[in-house]
């Protein structure tokens, strides 16, 4: 039995360090690595399930070709030959930009750049801008603080008031709960703001359940009280905050009574929350990502962040905005959120013209040239991007589709050629994180099984076939273990503290990272201060420079939205502990914890529709429908229906059949969490 140190590269806060025990080419155990102070307890259930995932009988181990609706095994030679032919044909006519490249967040790492490099060498491509995940919040943070970073994860233990705003850390950031528990043991208070009574909410002394999309109104009303009662930190504001006067004048109209009406949170709760902000320091707000997937959510996030600015809760131990920590993203030439933005000066080679939020409609809308072929890797856009029907239509409108995958996802099922992808254990890479400060080596521990190949090898083989000049350059297409190590060493070179040898032992704190973010009170905004008033918000996004409140696009109170009686329920599509988006649930170890999709409904909403516990229902709107089983949940806010996202179409609960292809107010994010639906018992639906 040999033990290796590696790290989990999923799109997840924790980015755990793992000790992997390998015996006879098989992963036997995933053990904790205590050098990572953020994840010393070890991996979550998903991390443990890698022992099944890597060796799953369902894993794709050979290239597959779809013929007459069935997939058949073919050789690499055949697969690459077919792709080569298509690429040559399209490059000549109508041009390389008729090829569409889509990469998701399935695996993180700096080796992912190899794909982009290939397509540039090929002669160009059409690519996406924006992101499904977190850009509105990133942009809101950047506009306000100048940079996306926060203190080390364990600093939350120093907080005395913790506000988990739209975040169910117990399921999505389980390792944060350890530090929250430490804070609670030391006497801290926890407030959870969430329409659901989540696992996390059980630790809270106060659970505020606002109407989805109105968190900004709640924040503004709290600010109203803090300003009115003179409970702000004048000294901090004086030295570090820009635009306070205008902001204070603006919040005057956002009274708790107004907010109670808008948010559906009784005014006493708003007073209670303001009282906590006024009387406790230090305060940490840790917002989730779900709440910033609304059409008004950039402004919402700015309004929430303002509460920390006016109470002086930035730059001190236990205080801060724990949203996204990009301090370990030292290898990115362009940091998020800018990396999501289309280039201001298009280079004529890579056409960045498809919004991730509007993937289906934008793919269909491309002209000169129209899209003819797609290459998808590390992603499952069919189930995960909004408006699944349109995404399917767009993929089916193409001549040719290649999907690089480990399993037959819904996107892989649309492919003409499926190429067997490596797993995280089969090629080394270096990864940062977005919650903790560590740089880690995601070390290769086994060879790819069957005929699976790392993407860099697939691209090298294709480059050779296409006779691209870079084909033999291992710095562009590193394939052998030595070439990969050399590639990584080159990236590490600017940082003497970071070597592969050192990283093989365990995680290393990012050189120059701050244990307490902004402790120097330097804010890289245009003014050098925390900007409550942001000119860039107006210039770049056409928004009010102040974070005022507007109803989200599909709000039942928005006069421009459909009549409230049409689709009166708000659909929540949160993540579960059992999956990272659409990954993991195909494993038996994981599906045992929730084998089928469930629509959670409040008993009052169910009763008024004649729906009983366990009934099959149709959840629908103009965009689509799904038919699943109902489970009544007394803790859910009435007016909401909740289905976790990530279910495959074959499993029956793909929520994005219902979600809208709409962008957020800033950052080119996807506003697909505002999603109005109706629910009917399946027996009553036509």
């Amino acid at each position: 039995m040999t033990t290796y140190t590696t790290a989990c590269p999923r799109n997840c806060y924790s980015t755990c360090t793992l000790r992997v025990q390998v015996e006879g080419g098989r992963i036997r155990r995933i053990e904790p690595h205590t050098d990572n102070r953020a994840t010393p307890g070890g991996a979550c259930l998903k991390g443990l399930s890698y022992v099944e995932r890597v060796h799953s009988p369902d894993r794709i181990l050979h290239p597959l070709r779809r013929a007459a609706g069935e997939f058949e095994r073919i050789s690499w030679d055949e697969a690459l030959g077919t792709i080569e032919e298509k690429l040559n044909e399209l490059k000549a006519d109508p041009g390389p930009q008729s090829v569409f490249y889509y990469s998701g967040s399935g695996t993180k790492g700096i080796m992912n750049i190899v794909g982009r490099n290939f397509w540039r060498c090929y002669g160009g491509i059409t690519a996406t801008y924006g992101d499904l995940c977190w850009p509105a919040g990133l942009e809101a943070t950047r506009l306000t603080l100048g940079e996306n970073k926060h203190s080390v994860p364990w600093d939350v233990a120093e907080a005395r008031l913790i506000v988990l705003w739209g975040k169910n850390a117990a399921e999505t950031n389980i390792h944060q709960m350890v530090f929250i528990d430490q804070a609670l043991d030391a006497g801290a208070k926890l407030v959870v703001i969430d329409p659901r009574r989540t696992e996390t909410a059980e630790r809270a002394s106060l659970l505020i359940q606002p109407r989805p999309g109105t968190d900004g109104a709640l924040a503004l009303a709290v600010a109203h009280l803090l300003v009115k009662n003179d409970q702000v930190d004048h000294e901090f504001i004086e030295r570090h905050v820009l635009g306070y006067e205008k902001y204070a004048a603006m919040v005057e109209r956002y009274t708790p009574e107004w907010a109670a009406d808008v948010t559906d949170v009784p005014a006493p709760f708003i007073h209670e929350l303001a009282g906590l902000f006024a009387s406790i320091k230090p305060v940490t707000i840790s917002p989730g990502y779900g709440m910033q997937r609304f059409a008004n959510s950039g402004q919402t996030m700015r309004a929430m962040l303002a509460l920390l600015a006016i109470t002086g809760n930035i730059g001190a131990p236990g205080a801060g905005w724990v949203y996204a920590n990009l301090q370990s993203h030292i290898f990115d030439k362009v940091k998020d959120p800018f990396a999501f933005y289309p280039p201001e000066q298009p280079d004529g080679v890579v056409r960045v013209s498809v919004s991730t939020a509007r993937l289906g409609p934008d793919m269909l809308a491309q002209r000169d040239p129209s899209l003819r072929m797609a290459w998808v890797e590390r992603g499952n856009p069919v189930t995960q991007n909004p408006e699944t029907h349109t995404v399917l239509e767009a993929f089916r409108a193409l001549d040719f589709r290649v999907v690089v995958e480990q399993f037959m996802t819904d996107t892989a099922r649309e492919a003409d050629i499926v190429l067997p992808a490596k797993t995280m254990f089969e090629q080394s890479d270096v990864i940062g994180a977005y919650w903790h400060h560590y740089i880690q080596l995601k070390q290769k521990v086994i060879d790819p099984p069957g005929a699976a190949k790392p993407e860099s090898e697939i691209y090298r083989l294709l480059a050779e076939r296409l006779e691209l000049p870079e084909a033999s350059d291992p710095t562009v297409f590193p394939v052998s273990d030595d070439e990969v190590d050399a590639f990584l060493e080159r990236e590490l070179q600017p940082f003497p503290e970071l070597t592969l040898e050192r990283l093989k032992q365990g995680p290393v704190l990012t050189p120059g990272s701050e244990e307490v973010a902004f402790s120097d009170r330097r804010f890289p905004t245009p003014s050098g201060k925390i900007e409550l008033e942001s000119r860039e918000a107006h210039e770049r996004w056409g928004l009010d420079p102040l974070p005022g409140f507007t109803e989200p696009a599909e709000s039942i109170r928005n006069p421009e939205a459909p009549d409230p009686s049409t689709y009166p329920l708000h659909m929540l599509t949160p993540n579960t502990k059992n999956r990272i988006h659409s990954q993991f649930n195909n494993l038996r170890m994981i599906s045992q914890f929730g084998e089928k999709p469930i629509a959670f409904m409040h008993p009052d909403d169910a009763r008024s529709r004649g729906i009983a516990d366990g009934d099959r229902v149709r959840v629908f709107n103009d965009r689509g429908s799904i038919e699943i089983e109902v489970c009544l949940d007394n803790g859910l806010k009435p007016g909401c229906v909740c289905v976790t996202n990530g279910w495959w179409i074959s499993e029956g609960g793909t929520v994005n059949f219902l979600s809208p292809a709409r962008e957020t107010d800033m950052g080119f994010g996807a506003a697909f969490h505002e999603n109005r639906v109706e629910v009917k018992a399946a027996r009553d639906a036509d």
Binding site: R29, E31, P32, T39, G41, G42, A43, C44, L45, L48, S49, V51, E52, A170, E171, I174, H175, M177, V178, D181, L184, V192, R197, E199, A201, E202, R203, A204, S205, L206, L207, I208, Q209, P210, V265, P266, P268, F269, E272, K577, N578, L587, R588, M589, Q592, F593, H602, P603, D604, R607, D613, L632, D633, N634, G635, L636, K637, P638
Partner: protein
């Protein structure tokens, strides 16, 4: 070296890592695990907190599983104190799982044996903790060396017993009892789905036991009737019946070829005692019928051994700790006595046994009202056929209706015995949680402070 599990429900998020850690470490297959996680208040009733309880085997100081096992498949590992089940000795009778209030022994359908947490004693030797404890991401589950007498484990959902489970459970924090919530209270909150979800002993699975016990009681009664009232029967048919009865007994075993092991734990297991005494009874009965048909003393001793076997059959169910094993209308011993009276026409015996059965039956049904199925039609059949019709016919003309009386009594007994198996409840964490939640929700909900 750790000797006890330590669990903190305040830190547990119900993530399931412990369950998987166990599956992986012990090579149990992706969905099988010796560790289960139960959730208190899964429907998030506004009147109660939600928390989880992760349990495997507690390696109790008084291991009731080991005492109940007739096959001596259980032992205590002297080095680690772990209660170990040797699967190669297990006959798959499942009595250990009936005895354990924590659902620790798990029946493996494909192999026909029980399997159970070993406290990862193979890891302890290497200085490691059990896999579940070492892989809990939040530190909610741990293992430590704690003196057995200092352990406390008071938590809703955790059955309090006197078997000294070696687990320390932290009390649920007061602050965790209920968050103040803004969502309006529901009109009629959804109650827990009910005890139906708890794993239970079912008639469908245990029909062979119902048939076996009733046929054993009939054969003992027949023999006793022969001794006291010289009722006649065909000895060959009797022996065939005895063979059939013993065959029925093995039907519910997962490993029938190991059935002989059922006699090994005479010292502690009522099942072993039942098997040995019933076999002895049949052996003596055959000897009496063939070699000494007139020997009064041998006849009396044989009958006594038979009734002792029926007593053992009743005490087998004492592992469930649900009332006195003889205080039940379906008691095998009472059935034996009633049938003896009916077969031999001893009216006082039939009357006493019948009246006892009727009383116990009524008490049981009254006790079930509102919480368990009462089944009025079945009850009418049981009481009418078994206990009302026979005395009436007896009063009219015992001789003329004797066969009908016997048939009617046996039919009534069969119904009762079937109901007995359908109603058997074994305690389990899930059942305990549902009981405790129901109790908690009966109390007034504390009003929010805001």
């Amino acid at each position: 070296m750790p000797t006890s599990f330590v669990f903190d429900p305040n830190r547990c998020t119900g993530c399931g890592a412990c369950r998987l850690a166990c599956s992986i470490e012990n090579g149990l297959g992706p969905e099988a695990s010796w560790r289960k996680i139960e959730t208190f208040n899964p429907r998030r009733h506004p009147g109660a907190p939600v928390f989880h309880l992760s349990l495997a085997c507690n390696h109790c100081t008084e291991p009731v599983c080991m005492h109940a096992c007739p096959a001596l498949a259980y032992s205590r590992d002297l080095a680690t104190g772990a209660v170990i089940l040797d699967e190669s000795k297990c006959i798959g009778c499942k009595y250990c799982s009936w005895a354990c209030p924590y659902d620790a022994p798990v029946y493996d359908d494909t192999r026909g044996v029980m399997s159970k947490c070993t406290f990862c004693n193979h890891r302890l030797a290497d200085g490691l903790k059990p896999a579940c404890a070492s892989l809990c991401p939040t530190g909610a589950l741990d293992a430590a060396d704690l003196p057995a007498e200092s352990l406390t484990s008071e938590l809703e959902g955790f059955t309090a017993t006197d078997i000294q489970p070696r687990i320390e459970i932290a009390p649920l924090k007061k602050t965790r009892s209920l968050p103040v919530m803004t969502a309006p209270q529901v009109q009629e909150p959804v109650a827990p789905p009910g005890a139906a979800s708890a794993s239970d002993i079912t008639l469908k699975a245990e029909w062979s036991l119902a048939a076996f016990t009733l046929s054993a009681a009939s054969l003992v009664a027949l023999f006793a009737g022969h001794v006291i009232a010289s009722i006649a029967f065909d000895p060959v048919a009797y022996v065939a019946g005895a063979g059939l009865t013993m065959g029925l007994a093995t039907l519910h075993l997962g490993r029938k070829t190991r059935a002989y092991r059922a006699i090994l734990n005479l010292r502690r297991s009522w099942l072993s005692r039942e098997v040995v005494s019933l076999s002895t009874f049949f052996a003596l009965a055959v000897g009496y019928l063939w070699m000494a048909p007139g020997d009064v003393w041998l006849g009396r001793v044989t009958a006594l051994v038979g009734f002792f076997a029926l007593l053992c059959a009743d005490y087998v169910y004492s592992v469930l700790r649900t009332g006195h094993p003889l205080g039940n209308s379906a008691s095998v011993l009472l059935t034996g006595l009633l049938l003896t009276g009916v077969f031999s026409g001893v009216v006082w015996l039939a009357a006493i046994a019948g009246f006892a059965k009727l009383s116990f039956y009524v008490v049981r049904k009254i006790d079930f009202m509102g919480r368990r199925p009462v089944r009025p039609v079945v009850s009418a059949a049981r009481a009418g056929l078994g206990l009302v019709l026979p005395p009436i016919l007896w009063l009219v003309d015992f001789e003329q209706f004797h066969v009908i009386i016997i048939a009617s009594v046996i039919a009534g007994e069969l119904v009762d015995r079937c109901e007995f198996y359908a109603d058997l409840e074994r305690s389990s964490p899930r059942r305990q949680m549902e009981t405790d939640l129901t109790k908690r929700l009966a109390e007034p909900v504390p009003q929010a402070a805001i």
